[in-house]
């Protein structure tokens, strides 16, 4: 497998593939964080999560068009606005979905799974009707073009570095909110013991809705970041949803650090393997390993110990 490469070439390959893995890691992590929060707190499986990501991507696409038409002078700044627009749109739709559908199904987790799959089909068709079946891409602003040259054989694209920095920032904010803010305290209380949290005066229903909206908003930010590295089609979200669920389950539900660790290991192994075998086989190999580990250790990598 390593025949025919010199040592320095191998280092370059691993650095470059490792970086490609970091970009995949960023998308996985932003998707999985939202999912992990929702799943961890409410036990709800949101199969439409991928469509929230695509919503963010389309919002970025729209914002870039608005900027191109109305403010061509400051076109370079559109992406920063797009992130905010995407987050707000995702959160609003998530809020609506929780109110209209999810809250009626809390006691039937398997049924939520099917119902949200229906939601995802409807959203896909809406995207297809509005934006067309073909994939759309955005123009990168100038400051995200180009690459950092670290050595003769290693170069890192600027957009990738930016996406990774964005992910790091969002994850830090989420972890900070979960473990330092009053809202996070309420969320953790509800996760651990819903009736007792209610007895202590925490409005569980409101916390649920906030959490669901937040998770969907983060997924939309993932979609905005996704436009920096690829084009978007109506069904692109579905390609990621299974991987993302595996990330959450593999990390151990209800453990955000576990989610980060598993997103990192899955994305890195997949992108490193991709160089040496075909993309599909790399994916099969990675997923098989994850499923194999889950067969042996179904609770995932990290477990939050608590009484049931």
């Amino acid at each position: 497998m390593f025949d025919g490469y010199t040592a320095s070439e191998l280092v370059s390959i691993f650095v470059m593939q490792g970086f490609a893995g970091l970009i995949l890691f960023s998308v996985f992590l932003l998707m999985a964080l939202g999912l992990a929060i929702i799943f961890g707190q409410m036990g709800v499986i949101n199969m439409a999560h991928g469509e929230f990501m695509i919503l963010g991507a389309y919002m970025t696409y729209l914002t870039s068009h608005v900027f191109k038409g109305a403010f061509p002078g400051i076109y370079g700044a559109y992406f920063l606005v797009a992130i905010v627009v995407a987050a707000l749109a995702g959160a609003a739709l998530g809020w609506l979905l929780e109110w209209a559908l999810i809250r009626h199904l809390y006691h039937r987790p398997l049924d939520t799974l099917l119902a949200t799959w229906g939601v995802s089909m409807i959203l896909q068709q809406i995207y297809r009707s509005i934006f067309g079946a073909r994939e759309v891409g955005v123009e990168l602003p100038d400051w995200l073009m180009g690459a950092f040259h670290l050595s003769d054989t290693i170069e890192l694209p600027v957009n990738g570095v930016f996406v990774f920095a964005l992910t790091a920032a969002i994850s830090t904010i989420i972890l900070f909110m979960m473990f330092r803010s009053r809202w996070g305290l309420q969320v953790r209380a509800v996760v651990q013991n819903r009736p007792m949290a209610g007895a202590a005066g925490i409005n569980g229903t409101r916390v649920d809705r906030m959490t669901f909206a937040l998770g969907c908003g983060v997924a939309s930010i993932a979609g905005a970041a996704f436009t920096m590295i690829g084009s978007t089609g109506p069904t692109a979200g579905q390609l990621y949803i299974v991987d993302t669920f595996l990330v959450v389950v593999f990390g151990g539900a209800q453990s955000l650090f576990g989610t980060i660790a598993s997103a990192f290991s899955i994305s890195q192994s997949q992108s490193s393997l991709e160089f040496f075998m075909s993309g599909s086989m790399a994916k099969v190999f990675t997923l098989l390993t994850v499923v194999g580990i889950l067969l042996l250790r179904p609770q995932g990598l990290f477990v939050l110990k608590m009484r049931k």
């Binding site: 119902a115 409807i122 896909q124 297809r128 994850v290």
Partner: protein
Amino acid sequence: MTSHPHVLPGRLAYFTGSRSERGALLAFAVLILVLLPLGLDVFRLNIFGKYLTYAFVAVGLVLCWGLGGILSLGQGVFFGLGGYCMAMFLKLEASDPVSTAIQSTPGIPDFMDWNQLTALPWFWEPFHSLAFTLVAVIVVPTVFAFVLGSALFHRRVGGVYFAIITQAVASILSILIVGQQGLTGGLNGITDLRTLLGWDIRSDAAKYVLYYVNAFLLLAVILGGAYIRNCKLGRILVGIRDQEDRVRFTGYNVAAFKTFIFCVAAAFSAIGGAMFTLQVGFMSPTFVGIVPSIEMVVFCAVGGRLSLVGAAVGTLVVNFAKTTFSESFPELWLFAMGALFIGVVSAFPLGLAGLYERHLAPRLSRWRQGGSAAAVLSSTPGE
């Protein structure tokens, strides 16, 4: 599995259940054995035969999901494995050295030749034998389900975790089949299947024969499912679904029961897959992945997750609607399908069968009692 005559009177009652179930089964049998073949030309009948192969999966899901509470989002895997086993046999028969003489390596399937393979892969070799194939159709998916089920259920993985892992397995298998084009035929699948032991499966007569074989197999599977549900095993499964811990503390090996019913559902799906290959003439990874697997759950949910006949009827209804709608309004169909998912789950969790039981059945029995009360009284469920 032994019978337990002390639970219900009469041996036949195990297979037929209550009076309304018996009526439904009889009506369904008349529909698929008499009405459809009389009312449809051979082309349409073949399409309905295809729908009926999905019904095997739906019936399996009634046992595994409705009865046992195990939601598998990977039933397409078993449908596909059964179908691929059958397709491998038919493909080998279609690729004899004479008819593949123009290939650079005659005697191997055409897609292997296109992918520069020069010899038949080892796992294709046994599929020269029909007997081996027929055994493999059932055994391969069942063993696979057993490995998956026993590993997960013994570690007490259930509910949504199980659903996600089965979904990942469906995803892995479909990526694998698409990726290994030389071994599996890739995205196109295994196509151009012609004969079964020299008998042309594409002729009109063969289509009628295969339709009836399929229909009788489906009825047999439904009866087998009814037997499982009505005997003691079925009661234990319902107990596991509703209060798993209590059943475990009573001393039952919960994992063994769950694994068993999961394997039964897999075997049923595999029969459907093999019949699909025979009737439609090809097998492809589009029936293995996530989307078909979850659609099959919806067939079951629409028909009624607790009713074996209901699930089969639901499969027919949804597929017929899909074909009719998507021909004329392809856009509306996805909206309708999505709404169906949401509606069935949130408003009618028991599906068509539930609606029938709640609204139509009481009226029917009232009307019947008004008509001939004596006849109702004299008939007992054990007959």
